[in-house]
Structure formats: C-alpha cells, structure tokens
C-alpha cells in the first residue's frame, strides 16, 4: 500500500493500474445498468391494471 502503483505506458497514454481498473469497473457497471432489468413493484402494477 505504501509504494507507488504500477504504471502502464502506451505511446502518449500513461495511466496507473488502479486507475485503469477503476475505469474498467465503471464502464462495466454502466453497461450492466443499461441491460439489467429494473425491479418494479408488482403490486403497484396490479393496482394500475384494475383502474
């Protein structure tokens, strides 16, 4: 923990491994948020159907 993080270097891109991993996790979370079904209140929908 108390030492510099490993860095990755491609051309002009220089980024630490923890930062790269965090960005990857954020992108993954965003994609999951787009495709994962959002929980709905089934009872509420039944009420709506009865109206």
């Amino acid at each position: 923990m108390n030492s510099p993080a490993p860095y990755l270097h491609w051309g002009f891109i220089l980024i630490s491994l923890p930062n790269l991993l965090l960005i990857a996790v954020m992108v993954l979370l965003f994609v999951v948020a787009l495709i994962a079904p959002f929980p709905h209140n089934a009872a509420k929908h039944r009420d709506d159907d009865n109206e």
């Binding site: 965090l22 954020m26 979370l29 965003f30 948020a33 787009l34 959002f38 709905h40 709506d48």
Partner: protein, 244 residues
C-alpha cells in the same frame, strides 16, 4: 391577517390590522397579493407546485438504474458532509494520530471516491441519453457546474491533508496555477485559504447547487427516453409526476 390580533394584543406580524396610519381595512387581501414576495411565490408555484415536490407516482421511464446513480451520488455527498463536519471539529492532529480519526478520515476519502464514481456514471447516462432535451438545458448546465465545483473542492481537500502528499501536490499545483495567471488569487500554498475554501465556501456552494439541480429535475420531470413510442405528439415536454 386574522381579526384576533387587534391593538393591544402585542406586536403582531403585520402592522395593517393594528390600524396603523395609511393602512386600509378593506383591501388587506389585495395588499397581500402584491409585491415581489407574492410574485416570486406565484412564479415558484407555477414552476413546481408544492404537491408535486415529493411525488408518489412517476413516469415508467424513471425506473432506471441511471437515476439510481444520481441518488447514490447525493447519498455519498451526505456522507462526505457528515464526516467532513467531524474532521473539521476535531482537527488534523486527531485525524492523523488516533484510530477513530483515521476511520473518519477514511470515511471522508472513500465517500468522495463514491461521490465521483457515481457522479460520472450519472453524467454518462445523461450524456448518452441527451438529458438536456425538451427545455432541460439549464438542468444540464447546473450539473456541469456541479462537476467542476466538485473537482476544485476535492483538489483543495488534497491540499489540506497536512502530510507530505499534500505538500507535494501543492508545490506542483502552484507552478501550474501560476502559469494560468490565477496564482495571486488562488494560492494553493496558503493553507488557511485552502482550508476555508474547502470546509466552508465550496461545500455550501455545492449543497446549494445540488438543491437547485434537484428542484430543476422536479420542475420539468425526467427527460423522456430517445425514441419513446409513448411520447405525446403535441410536444408536451414536462413529465413530472405523470404516470404512464
């Protein structure tokens, strides 16, 4: 003004009922509906009626994880503010030397990480969903300002850690900010200035902007999804509280 608060019953909130010179006993309701306060009240009520501030029903498209990201951002901000208050009361010697101080310091730090992570996820969602459509440009712009103010607030937080890390950041940032010409106004080596900005000025600004952002979202409602087949053809853009 009620009739019960006549002369001799003590200082009432409005002088007209006490029969002060120049007041009219017949037009009190008309007087109440004039002036900048009544105009502002009417304008606010027109934009966001009180009964729609906390809705019980929402359009179906509000049920999306993208909006959960925004709510989590606010939740993280609450943790940042609460832990920041504790740190401000106890001081840097406490947060660097005691176990409880380390704990609150870590709460503050990781809450900020969560705040930025979910703010960026919320930003991505609004960007790809074009959240500025249908008269919501001001909501988008306040969000952009919030993002920028958050960055400066976090930066000043790094500067006031009172450790070697903050000194290293401050010395490097001093060079950069001098190059912009702002070094005379925003001196990152001045601990007192950075501390005041971080614990008072920017948190108040951030909180007020967040409140404004939420009121803006409530006043126009959440933007309809792109290509929404249920969108009315009449061009109706306000979707607050309207169930579908």
């Amino acid at each position: 003004m009620s009739e019960a608060s006549g002369a001799g019953s003590g200082p009432g909130p409005l002088p007209s009922a006490a029969g002060s010179p120049g007041s009219s006993s017949t037009g009190s309701s008309a007087v109440r509906d004039k002036g900048w306060t009544a105009a502002l009240r009417g304008r606010l009520d027109g934009r966001l009626p009180l009964e729609e501030v906390l809705p019980t029903r929402q359009p179906a498209f509000v049920g999306s994880w993208v909006y959960v990201f925004g709510v989590v951002t606010i939740a993280a901000l609450v943790w940042v503010l609460v832990s920041g208050c504790v740190l401000a009361f106890m001081g840097s010697a406490w947060w660097h030397t005691s176990n409880l101080g380390h704990f609150f310091n870590s709460i503050h730090f990781w809450s900020v990480q969560m705040f930025f992570i979910f703010m960026v996820l919320h930003l991505w969602g609004q960007y790809w969903g074009a959240g500025w459509r249908d008269g919501r440009a001001k909501t988008w712009m306040v969000g952009v300002v919030l993002f920028l103010v958050s960055i400066v607030t976090a930066f000043t937080g790094y500067l006031i850690q009172q450790n070697f890390d903050s000194q290293w950041i401050a010395v490097n940032a001093k060079d950069a900010i001098n190059a912009t010409g702002l070094g005379g106004f925003f001196n990152v080596l001045n601990f007192g200035q950075m501390y005041g900005i971080h614990v008072m000025l920017f948190p108040i600004a951030l909180t007020l902007l967040v409140v404004l952002h939420i009121v803006q979202v409530r006043s126009r409602g959440v933007v309809r999804p792109i290509g929404d087949p249920y969108a009315p053809a009449s061009g109706e853009s306000v979707s607050r509280g309207a169930p579908r």
